[in-house]
Symmetry: C2
Subunit: 336 residues, 2 copies
């Protein structure tokens, strides 16, 4: 049975909201996986029911990484923190995936340190699902990497493609490049160079540049961009539903349009996809929004289980590893 | 009486939609300004009523710049195009402002060529009004400048501040810097350097970094960013209302929520602000969306009139010109 290590101490509502998410996951999908709740035992005990369900186990960790600590320093100074202990479980083979709504920087740093990288991959990327009218779009990078180089963006395209193939059973995910125009010559130096790399790579299903107004049309499955613009876009999108609902609320009786509004919220709610995978590290590490609800945590557990079951990390290694066709192409590109 | 030169040949619906916009402007605000419709006389005559209102005059221009022509080449090769003729009117003192929904690139290039720059300003910027729940936010740059330098972004902050002061009668417009975090150290090299310049400039009311999720909260009046991210954000925002309405429509009877939906459209509709000023050139030049409606054109005429009446260009020159305090600070910065 798959074992999912869950950081019970990370996130605005921790540990209560995290525990609620874990409880509803094991209730909804009983006997399918084990959730290892990593955290300060006293804090967890007061939130857990007296009869802990069989699918849940507590793994003690006495320290907590605070959101504003320097990530690298925090994981060095707090070896018994829930992030370090949780990722340690993966390193020792005692867990198959790790989930945290705590410090994104600390989870990234510790994931690289304890899991290592898929051979050949330079930098891990955080992929975030953008809800659209149809199938969701995975935006890589969603903010983990600021000032990326074209070659790194090419790698993100591959990481995202493998993830979407395994998660949504898409045969050849369509890769788009976020840009300010359709033509290959448009955009800044980085984007023009990235367009060329994506275009030349026959292993990818590159569909060309995607402009801001067609993202939500679902015109691609993987949207490649630098983490700066990815982060701005992601946060902007998160705020739009609230803004539009506010406009509606101030002009109509909630009773009248409540159902439609609820549907808008459901559609654009990131919690639906529960967590963003850290792609490129040699293991399953899922990063959740600090403000994650219990439902987001439950869905992140499901995402982690799907990653493990689909063999996502092995797929990344075989598609991107040193002997893969992609790696040979990369080596050629890097020699240029 | 102010004379507004209007490119009747630019935009998807030209000349019909442009003429409709002009007619409704002179009907709504009679005897306040003259609209000089610049375009191919035969095309205009067939769309104009037989008794042309007194506020409208036709200025012949026999050529049209097509959207996909190279801007610089087009304005050289088509001296009798509506864009060249219209901006020529400003240069000769025969008009006070120019408006076009045609090729943005050509309007920008011709504006620089015929109007020149406000002394000391390196590059013109396009500012776009983002509707928010409260007062709108002017995003500079909205796509005219890709790969800007920090010093140019500092200039955009000033250009935007003067514009918002004159247009919305704000005493000290709040300037924000679009970034991925609150702290001064966040972001890419360009944004970190720009933060420092904005922080040091005492002439600006700099309120710090603005993240994607607080843009629509109206936490600043002028939002500074590189044109790449500005363009992506602007186009994304334009598409969001349609997307959310689609979700609502598929879940509720239009009769029930029609009023609220209309309000959403009205609130997030760029047409409400009708046109984006090209700031930094030595004259009033307003760029409209290619898909502008007659209402957007009408509102752009109002924007142009306000720019002329407020003395916006003179204000830019006195605030940013060579003898201004701002220019002295800039010179100090550039020597560093």
């Amino acid at each position: 049975m798959h074992r999912i290590a869950l950081d019970a101490m990370g996130g605005d509502g921790a540990p209560r909201v995290i525990i609620e998410g874990a409880l509803s996951a094991v209730r909804e999908w009983p006997n399918q996986f084990k959730v290892l709740l990593v955290g300060v035992p006293e804090s967890l005990r007061s939130e857990l029911p007296s009869d802990i369900p069989g699918g849940i186990e507590v793994v003690p960790a006495t320290e907590v990484v605070e959101p504003h600590e320097s990530p690298v320093r925090a994981i060095r100074r707090k070896p018994d923190s829930s992030i370090v202990v949780g990722l340690g479980l993966l390193q020792q083979g005692a867990a198959d995936a790790f989930i945290s709504a705590g410090s994104t920087g600390a989870v990234m740093a510790a994931s690289r340190l304890f899991l290592g990288m898929v051979p050949g991959v330079e930098r891990p990327t955080v992929g975030t699902m953008f809800p659209t009218a149809g199938s969701p779009v995975l935006v890589v990078d969603a903010g983990a990497n600021i000032e990326t180089r074209p070659y790194q963006l090419l790698q993100f395209a591959h990481l995202g493609s493998v993830y979407m193939r395994d998660m949504l059973a898409l045969e050849t995910p369509r890769v788009g490049l976020l840009n300010v125009g359709k033509e290959a010559s448009k955009g800044d130096t980085r984007t023009v160079a990235t367009h060329r790399l994506l275009q030349e790579d026959e292993e990818l299903n590159f569909v060309g540049n995607i402009e801001g107004d067609t993202i939500l049309e679902g015109s691609c499955d993987v949207l490649v961009c630098d983490g700066f613009v990815g982060n701005v876009l992601l946060k902007f999108y998160e705020s739009v539903a609230g803004f539009i609902s506010g406009v509606l609320e101030s002009h109509l009786d909630p009773e009248t349009y409540g159902a439609g509004l609820k549907e808008v919220y459901r559609t654009v709610d990131y919690a639906e996809y529960g967590g963003a995978p850290l792609l490129g590290v040699n293991g399953v590490s899922i990063i959740c929004h600090g403000g994650s609800s219990a439902r987001a945590i439950k869905n992140a557990i499901q995402t982690a289980v799907t990653c493990v079951e689909s063999g996502m990390v092995a797929d990344l290694a075989s598609e991107l590893g040193p002997t893969s066709r992609t790696a040979r192409v990369w080596r050629k590109i890097r020699r240029r």
